[in-house]
Amino acid sequence: MTALRLPTARETRRRADLLSRLPLVLAAVFAVLLAVAAVAPGILAPGSPTAIDPAQAFAPPSTEHVFGTDESGRDVYTRIVHGAGPSLLIGVAATAIGLGLGTLLGLLAGLGGRVADYAVGRTVEVLFALPGLLLALLVIVLVGPGPVPATIAVGLSSAPGYARLVRGQVIGIRATGYVEAARVLGHGRTRILARTIVPNTARQLLVLATLGIGQAIVWASTLSFLGLGTEPPAPEWGAMLNAGRTYLQVAWWMTVFPGLAIVGTILAATVLGRALERRAGGLR
């Protein structure tokens, strides 16, 4: 017979630590898996993502096909793993476009004087009046559908958010002592910009970009889902969901698993972004 033993204070604390760290650990593990899948999908899924096998069409999840097969008998698990690269690439590229453009606009507004600030401020405000997907759809109608336009569209629609943040940061930093100190030391404008202002905004931008990648992936996959981005049979998560929609009644696995990959990616980005934010000492 074992005696009833209450946990010691230290054990309780450790358990609490685990409870609060668990999301972070899961997110990190997921991120590593994603990175492996993106760089070397063959390690996690040796098969071909586009190999068809009509005899095996619509096979439900089993030991042979853990996530089932699609309408042409392609293995859903293999396609998800191989889809990580394209899906992440679009998300990262879109974030880079948005971040680059937003930073440029923000720096211009924060440093370029009143006229530039006004012009950028108004432009950003106008773009904010075109919520969410709307701006992206406008870009698509002007440029045409496809993976590259979709990436540009998502990037452009995220730029106003970054621009607003950078502008606020720059104005805040300009008011601090060290910019003045650099000026007193006789440093030129470019040097102050490159050595003082940009490094000080970088940390917050990193946080925001981490959070933003998840969102960019959702938007890009939404465009693919709507048939405006990557087209099947290319293994991309949004495109897979687009294909799965037709067979929702007969093959739930074609929809559930690629979607879980997207949701997992966003959650990982969110959790990691927040952890970064805490380390950076708070965003606001």
């Binding site: 075109l130 997907l133 709307l134 759809l137 559908p145 969102q215 938007w219 969901l241 799965g244």
Partner: protein, 310 residues
């Protein structure tokens, strides 16, 4: 503001590679004759100088004339007029449901029990992360295909609206609950909460009567953003559930590159967004009397953190 949106749209249209006249006649594949192209150019004023076209474009917008859809061959204003009601009703219903869920979640996730906080917070994060198009599919799989409780498409019955509204409401509820939780925790730590507790107010009463009102302000401010999110979400949801509305019309127009229709929908949504932003401002002032005296500066409405980037 609207003028600025219109100008950006106009410039955008002019930047499009390709001949608009050709697009009207059905794109490069249509092998339109030179005479037909010239006739279309004259009809749509495309042979005029750009500035004249710009002036005419603005003039028509002021009088509510958005031109004629390339594809449907109907006045764009008619097309939008026929569709906008359904989408606004859908967005409004979803916003109400989202608020109800968000208040519930915020109350749970600011609760006293550690587990309630963790689980409530987790649900909020997951809900906010769900892509609408996937959520819609999952709801259909579970409630339509699996359980057979609700129809998989909006068939015009009240039951058919449940899944579309839930699809739109759940992610918004996640965002709303997150932002409400933050200000609710602030409120619970504020001196007025201590005062209420010392008066013998129960924890539940404190949350319902004092903290909720405090938390509602950023939530209301966020509602303008949420409305925009709902309207652009309508593109996905109306397509998924085969519902009539502006979103589905917009997607079709984008797919067929029907520029006048897309332009008009974008302008109408921008207008609606501005109106809702104004309404949200008014509502926030009504809830929080302190704002009435405060100077109304250029304070940006709050956006959820993930969304600031996106």
């Amino acid at each position: 503001m609207l003028w600025a949106v219109a100008t950006i749209v106009f410039v955008g249209i002019r930047l499009v590679p390709g001949d608009p006249a050709l697009a009207i006649l059905g794109g490069p594949g249509s092998q339109a004759s030179a005479e037909a192209l010239a006739a279309v150019r004259a009809e749509y004023g495309l042979d005029q100088p750009v500035l004249v076209q710009y002036g005419a474009f603005l003039g028509r917008l002021v009088t509510g004339d958005f031109g004629e859809s390339y594809v449907l061959r109907r006045p764009v204003a008619d097309v939008i007029g026929a569709q906008i009601g359904a989408t606004l009703a859908l967005a409004a219903a979803s916003l109400v449901v989202a608020w109800a869920i968000a208040i519930g979640l915020a109350l749970v996730s600011t609760g006293r029990s550690r587990w309630a906080r963790s689980i409530g917070g987790g649900i909020e994060t997951v809900a906010a992360a769900l892509p609408q198009f996937w959520l819609a599919s999952i709801l259909v799989i579970v409630f339509a295909t699996g359980l057979g409780w609700l129809p998989a498409v909006a068939d015009g019955t009240p039951a058919g609206v449940v899944l579309p509204v839930l699809t739109l409401a759940i992610p918004v509820a996640g965002f709303l609950a997150q932002i409400m939780r933050e200000s609710m925790l602030d409120a619970l730590a504020a001196p007025f909460s201590l005062a209420a507790r010392s008066r013998g107010e129960s924890e539940t009463g404190l949350r319902l009567r004092h903290a909720l009102r405090h938390a509602a302000v950023p939530g209301v401010e966020l509602s303008a953003w949420a409305f925009g999110y709902l309207v652009s979400g309508a593109v996905v949801v109306e397509t998924m559930f085969a519902m009539p509305g502006l979103g589905r019309t917009l997607l079709q127009a984008v797919t067929l590159r029907d520029v006048p229709l897309v332009t008009a929908v974008v302008l109408v949504v921008a207008l609606a967004y501005l109106v809702v932003t104004f309404l949200a401002d008014v509502a926030a002032t009504l809830i929080d009397p302190r704002r009435r005296d405060a100077e109304t500066g250029d304070r940006p409405a709050p956006t959820p953190r993930a969304e600031v980037a996106a």
